[in-house]
Structure formats: C-alpha cells, structure tokens
C-alpha cells in the first residue's frame, strides 16, 4: 500500500524547511496533516523552535587567542597542494 502522506522520519527531514516557510504547498499540506495528529513531531518541532530561539540570543564567542594563533598557524603550514 502507498498513501499520500508523510511519516515521522520524513517530517524530521522537512522540519527546518517548514519553520523557514520554504515548503511547496503540496508538501506543506502533507506536513500539516501529519502535525495535526502526531504528538511526537509537534514536540520535535517545538524543540527545534526553542533551540533556534535560544541560539539566536547567544552571542558568538570569539576563540581564545591561543586557539586563534594555532588555527592560523595550521592554515599557513598546510601543504601547498592543499591550498586553493
């Protein structure tokens, strides 16, 4: 049997696009049909939203000076054949 609907695993792959409003209408309908009846996926979506909201309010931390120096040194020391 093959029905025109999505399952939880497929929803998980579409969740970010759903939150971004990037789904085409036909897929959006399938996603919302699934969300209307799936507690687990609604919880999952809520977790993603909460995480995104928390991260968006967190300032990006600058690396420690020694970490930055080590990264720059590694970049400069990489073999010539690896350079662009």
């Amino acid at each position: 049997m093959s029905f025109d609907e999505i399952v939880c695993r497929e929803f998980a792959e579409l969740a970010t696009d759903y939150l971004d409003g990037a789904l085409p209408d036909a897929t959006l309908e399938l996603v919302e049909e699934h969300l209307a009846m799936c507690d687990w996926c609604r919880d999952y979506l809520g977790q993603i939203e909460a995480t995104a909201a928390a991260v968006s309010h967190t300032p990006a931390a600058a690396p420690a000076p020694e970490t930055l120096q080590a990264l720059v040194a590694a970049f400069r020391d990489r073999p010539k054949e690896d350079r662009p």
Binding site: M1, F3, D4, G21, D25, L28, E29, E32, E33, L35, A36, M37, D39
Partner: protein, 207 residues
Amino acid sequence: MIAYKFLAAGGLGPFSRYPWPLPRPGTPGAWVAAAGGAMVCHDAVHACRAGDLPWWLQDELWEAELGGAVTPGRHKVMAPRARLLRRVDGWGPACAQRFADACAGRARDHAVTALDRAGAGGTADALRACTTPREIRAAVRAGRPPEVARIAHTMAGDAAVRALGGAAVVAAYIAAHAAARVDGERAMDAERAWQSDWLRAELRLDA
C-alpha cells in the same frame, strides 16, 4: 463560502498560533487576510469542508466565512481571507471522546473482518463482543491472531489505546489505515467518509 476552522484552545491557529478575532454575539469576527503570506500562512487562509474535518481535529471548531476565490486542496480549502462566524458548540472534549470511541469501534470491526477471513473465529468473536475501547484493548492483548490478520488486530488495539488517551484524531487515522489494511485504499476513503458523516450528524453541520 461557509466552511469550518479548527483552532487550538483560546482561538489560536493550530500551526500559525495566530490569535483569530472571535465573533461577538450577533457580530462575526474581523476578516483575517493572508496578506501576501505574512499574516496567517504562505498565501492563503486555510479551512475545512465538512468532509475534511477528521484530518484536522483540534480543541475548538468554528464556522467560518471564506472570502475571495476559494481553492480546493486535498483535505482543505484555501481562500484569501476568512472570518469566524460562530463556534460549533457541540464540539468539545465530550464529543471528541465519543468520536474517538466510535473510531476505535470501527478499527475493531476491520480487525474482526480480517480475523473472520483468516478463519480465526474465536479471536474474532472475542473482539466482536467488545463495546468499549477498554474491552477492545483487553481483547487484543489476550488474542492470538493468525499472522495474516496480526496487523489489523494490533491496529484495533492501538486505536483503542489512543481513544482511551483522548486522541481522537489519531484513533480516526488508525481506523482509516485499518480499513485500508483489510480492504484496500478505497476502504480508507470510505472510512474517512464515515468519520465525516459521523461528525456532520453529531454536530448538525450543514455546510
């Protein structure tokens, strides 16, 4: 066009969380426009025909007027704007539970059909005698169905468990899939039609 709109408790859009303007006695709610995608959904307000209701059950059911060109979707309709006219008072936790119980009964019936066809008369009779989700759950736990009817039998138990938890929309979904498991995809459509008819009659809907 008159259609229906399921909302979360407090008049909130179940997906958008948009607070719908509610009607006051004698006065419809304010029009809500899709406004180029920003306000409610991408580019349309969504609502249900009576036949779409079983897919979208939420806390509150409202009768809504749709404005502008209405576009039919698979299990919904879309319009540029809509407003709420009145709350369908018959829909609430008690009605949702009756619907969930009815759907569990339908899933039971599909399992009984599968068991009868498999020649498992004793297991079928035990399930057929059940009248409540609790009894269905117990019978499924005690039953030993033949492999060919095992999934339909399990689905009857799942529908009963979800009905006991008050998850009407899930019990309806399981009943529809149980029908398909036993009699194919057209049976799923018939099951959804039965569910819509149940809601239409119970809630005295005429749109």
